[in-house]
Symmetry: C2
DNA sequence: TCGAGCAACGTTACCGTTAACGGTCGGTCT
DNA sequence: AGACCGACCGTTAACGGTAACGTTGCTCGA
């Protein structure tokens, strides 16, 4: 019952040396004779000694070997793919990646970030929906890596990996134009940086192509399937309806799919962000995907580089990864109304 | 640059008291006069002091306030729903839930569990695919809660939340029989406890209903979409083919859906585990769902109860939550061949 | 008036590890 | 021979917080 785990002192006593020699052997430091080292290693094995990471981290002021990823909603394929990618790249350094969800709640997001910091996490990957990150300034100054993913930090400087939201949107809109559409509806929200960027890309592209944006084709609301459904329904049923829909978010897309099905006739659709069901439904959904492996690679690189250069704070980096159009069927439908 | 965060001692000095009084105020312990407490609280706020959880945990020997969930593959809806449920139930206790994936690798699973333990996680939620858990005995003896989800521990005793795999399978098979099927194929694997249970339930039910199981209707292989696809294809194209398919796992289901589509004609299908695309495809997929909120509730209860009764080890509990058949269309198709 | 009792603190020590520093000892160089 | 060196190892004191225990001073009853 409730046995204590052995400590360096226990090992030291059993081996007839000081705790310091044990520590040296464990960390591969010089200054211990081969015979002594051998004896210590034997005792370590015999007692099943494992160093206490809390104590080590407390003493060394770093080294929990934990990376925390904060995502706004529970683990969609998007975040998952990224986590997996980062995980593979940092595993060699002995780093563990864990994920927590803020559930789209800013307070919860801050609480989670704070929890990670308090607990000595070595770095944080942050898909933030917060509109102010100044509370992170002390941490950033202290040199702890916080990498922003998807949207840039507000009020502080930090390394960031963004997606080419405008470019991806431009490709989608041009794709629809090329297939004969002139009335392209967009369903989006404004409270997230990516969504706002995508709306901007939509307007830009239509303007550049001489189509002009019609307010009656724009639906802005909460990021929920319910809003997506209602928005798509009204786009399709209004006077002078949309012949194609561009969705800026997966949750909206889910609602839009329901509306299109209820509508009866197929409607052209391009959705930002790939999702598993996209190729299972009929017709398969044309999507704009973010280059997640690239995002993960950059994020991992930034993290490792900042962890290596302890103390001295690096100049924050910022990269933008491309977004790719993946034609699958739904985006190639001609106008029908 | 690289400023240190304030410590209790800094606070104490600034407030003109001892570190211990600060500690008492922070933990709501008695023994500090109201005026002194007020002054301390002011200084705490002014310095932005936040206690160092590592130091606290090291001293108190518990209290990282972290729960780790280990899942075999990255965050499918199944695990996600459970995490969310647990998260809500333990949040009041100040506990944070994070998730890590073993990526279906037993070594990785053990490494992750070990990492959580070393880092002072207060409890572990384990969706294990390991065939031996004796390595956890010391931890269980020490009183740290490890809750097994989905499959029971092997070689040790620990609290467990299981799903009624046999019951759910029975409902599915009976459902298909009721719709006129006599040749019901099953696609499954054996290396996981739930899959084995589901196969057993399948055989049991067929036997009880006087149909008898035909080896040519059983496909056992790795849990991958590729195998699912190949298995379904052969089930549908062999002599005396299956008229209905029962899938025991989501990854298999994905492959099976592809095979059915390639097959051309609709085929009755019931899949274990719900998934998002299930209601988006045509026809919508009839599934057997696990009662995840109930699982989460039980798991959280077990955890909290074990955390409350520190030291003394509780008798391991075991509960089985029901599985429900959700008819959506694909399971109600009649035999066609 | 003494001291029992308690509130309000401070001191010490410890959690487990390691950085910084010191000491010892055998050997080399001049 | 004495100075000097480096390899090996131990001692001390942190890291940040708090349990356990002391200390102080005050109140209040006998």
């Amino acid at each position: 019952m409730a046995e204590r785990r052995p400590t360096v002192r226990d090992v030291a006593r059993a081996a007839g040396v000081s705790a310091m020699s044990v520590s040296r052997v464990l960390n591969g430091q010089p200054g211990v004779g081969p015979e002594t080292a051998r004896r210590i290693e034997e005792v370590v094995k015999a007692l099943g000694f494992r160093p206490n990471k809390l104590a080590t981290t407390l003493r060394r002021r770093r080294g929990m070997s934990l990376l925390g990823m904060v995502v706004p909603y529970p683990y969609t394929p998007l975040f998952t793919a990224l986590t997996v990618e980062v995980d593979e790249l940092v595993r060699d350094e002995g780093l563990i990646v864990v994920t927590g969800s803020s559930d789209r709640d800013v307070d919860q997001e801050r609480a989670l970030v704070g929890a990670f910091i308090e607990r000595g996490f070595d770095g944080i990957l942050l898909f933030s929906e917060d509109a102010d990150h100044r509370y992170l300034k002390p941490e950033l100054d202290s040199g702890r890596p916080v990498i922003f993913l998807g949207s840039p930090p507000v009020g502080v400087e930090a390394s960031t990996v963004l997606v080419d939201n405008r470019g991806g949107t431009r490709d989608a809109v041009e794709h629809l134009l090329r297939h004969g559409h002139r009335r392209i509806g967009i369903v989006t929200s404004l409270d997230m940086f990516p969504a706002a960027e995508r709306l901007a890309g939509y307007k830009e592209t239509l303007a550049r192509e001489g189509v002009g944006d019609d307010p009656s084709l724009i639906r802005i609301g909460p990021i929920t399937p319910e809003f997506g459904q209602e928005a798509a329904r009204s786009l399709l049923e209004q006077d002078d309806p949309a012949t194609a829909i561009f969705s800026t978010n997966y949750l909206l897309t889910r609602g839009i799919l329901g509306a299109i099905r209820a509508h009866g006739r197929p409607v052209a659709l391009i959705a930002f962000d790939d999702f598993e069901a996209a190729s299972l439904v009929d017709p398969p959904i044309t999507v704009v995907t973010q280059d997640l492996p690239a995002m993960g690679r950059h994020a991992a690189e930034m993290l490792l580089s900042q962890l290596a250069g302890v103390g001295e704070r690096e100049r924050p980096a910022r990269v933008v990864v491309p977004a790719h159009l993946v034609p699958r069927g739904s985006g190639e439908l001609p106008p029908t109304s």
